[in-house]
Symmetry: C2
Subunit: 285 residues, 2 copies
């Protein structure tokens, strides 16, 4: 019925017709459906998927609209599948009748949990992503503002309250990692660039020297750093392989001399770096 | 065996003993386990849970360490349960033998997917959160830097390449929402504060007037805004209910007059606001 789906994504219309359509359908933001659905699809690297996230499907009419899209995709030969985080049985039924393969990311687990906890799940929808606790919101907001204020060594103020201070040469991934830790976990994260000026001495840069126990270093491979810097300033000394090699070697020496834990960001996502940093610095509950 | 688990979390030792322990165990960052596990637990608001995220459990020895923690929790009477995103059957077996309830967030769905796709899942671990595409990394990094540069109307440069410009009175949630859209989706987001200076005229503030079609407004309730502002400047005119009421009314009038779509952030999380904005501005693929 669905043709050969084992085709890489390609921009040609012919090829696209043989790519499978994955719908992440949620009665809330769609973030959970998208995240877990993508994690599951990543196990099938040989197949191309066109992804569509459809949040806030919390009425039967909304679900019928989705079914319309799914039928259109099926007609294009895209063999649609649905990853659903939808609590209402009625809405799920509408999606099920579309004829697409449906992976119900909540239902089965909720039943398992009800058994384990000896109680029934509450009927309220979308509680998880609700704002709920204003304190939690304040914490995130404060953390993002702290991160902006302390990005790239801009401020030495209030470093004593930082949960972690990321140090690294320019373009090793300090800024996105800082923001991720602030937004996702409400941590107070400062970051400080290591420049050639910091290397005549053996110790940590003076601004952060008092807070050595809060420091975490980033490094990468010279080739990768050169690529990333080239993106900002093509064909400069700054982006040359020689300069990158030298700065990274000095930074790693500095980390080792000062017993600053560090990690190589070259093959890691921002999420992975954040998880490693939190684990290493014992910032996880 | 596990005693009465239906107790709210409390700081007293006695009460804690009756709270259930939830372990989010992953062979990768733990983000998926934590997100979906928390979404599932949110359906049981009457039960208190102590949450522990344990990432990078990718060896049998690592799993045995987790089992040690779980046994200690069981001895405290915390009735541990595991939410697992672990691909290896061997590691999952170790966790299973701990005696804790285990919710396998991947396994069943992978089997469903294998059936649907007519192929077997790849054996590689942690592919999803791997850096993979250097272009994707560049996009996120660029977006975060753009967001920092354009936070709070700091720069009018390159607004023509913005995907969206958030406008709102101070403290309506512009900054965290901007960062979330940048980090999570690589979108170029600027934000611009509406101050009393912007209201004598009927149009949009001059800096953003050219880009009306990119603008999205935020509003909130006067009470909520007053609470949030009070956090920054207690007992000021700025945080007074009268001032907040006036600014929000003017902002909403401005949005309506200029046909700027807007949403009320008072009961929404950053994730929900981001999802609504992307849907409204057609920023989703």
């Amino acid at each position: 019925m669905f043709g050969d789906a084992r085709t890489q994504v390609s921009s040609s219309v012919d090829a696209q017709a043989r790519v499978r359509a994955a719908y992440f359908v949620s009665d809330s933001t769609g973030i959970t459906a998208e995240t877990l659905g993508s994690a599951l699809l990543a196990n099938f690297p040989g197949i191309g998927f066109q992804r569509h996230t459809i949040p806030f499907v919390d009425t039967v009419a909304g679900a019928q609209n989705v079914v319309g899209d799914i039928h259109a995709a099926a007609e294009r030969g895209a063999a649609p599948m649905i990853f659903a985080t939808v609590k209402s049985a009625e809405i799920l039924d509408v999606l099920r009748k579309s004829g697409a393969v449906i992976i119900d990311l909540l239902g089965g687990h909720l039943t398992e949990l009800e058994d384990a906890l000896g109680t029934t799940a509450s009927e309220q929808l979308g509680q998880f992503h609700g704002l709920g606790d204003i304190e939690h919101y304040f914490a995130r907001m404060r953390a993002v503002e702290y991160a902006i204020e302390h990005d790239d060594g801009q401020s030495g103020r209030a470093l004593d309250i930082a949960d972690v201070i990321l140090i690294a040469p320019s373009r090793c991934g300090k800024t996105p990692t800082t923001m991720y830790l602030a937004l996702q976990y409400g941590l107070l994260v400062a970051n400080y660039p290591l420049t050639d000026d910091d290397f005549p001495s053996d110790g940590l840069p003076s601004t952060v020297a008092k807070y050595g126990a809060k420091c975490f270093g980033l490094t990468t491979t010279p080739l990768r750093l050169s690529q990333v810097r080239h993106e900002r300033r093509p064909d400069s000394t700054y982006s040359s392989l020689a300069q990158c090699t030298r700065e990274l070697r000095r930074a790693e020496d500095l980390y080792r001399r000062n017993r600053v834990p560090f990690l190589n960001s070259s093959t890691k996502s921002v999420e992975e770096m954040s998880a490693v940093i939190m684990q290493s610095m014992h910032l996880r509950s």
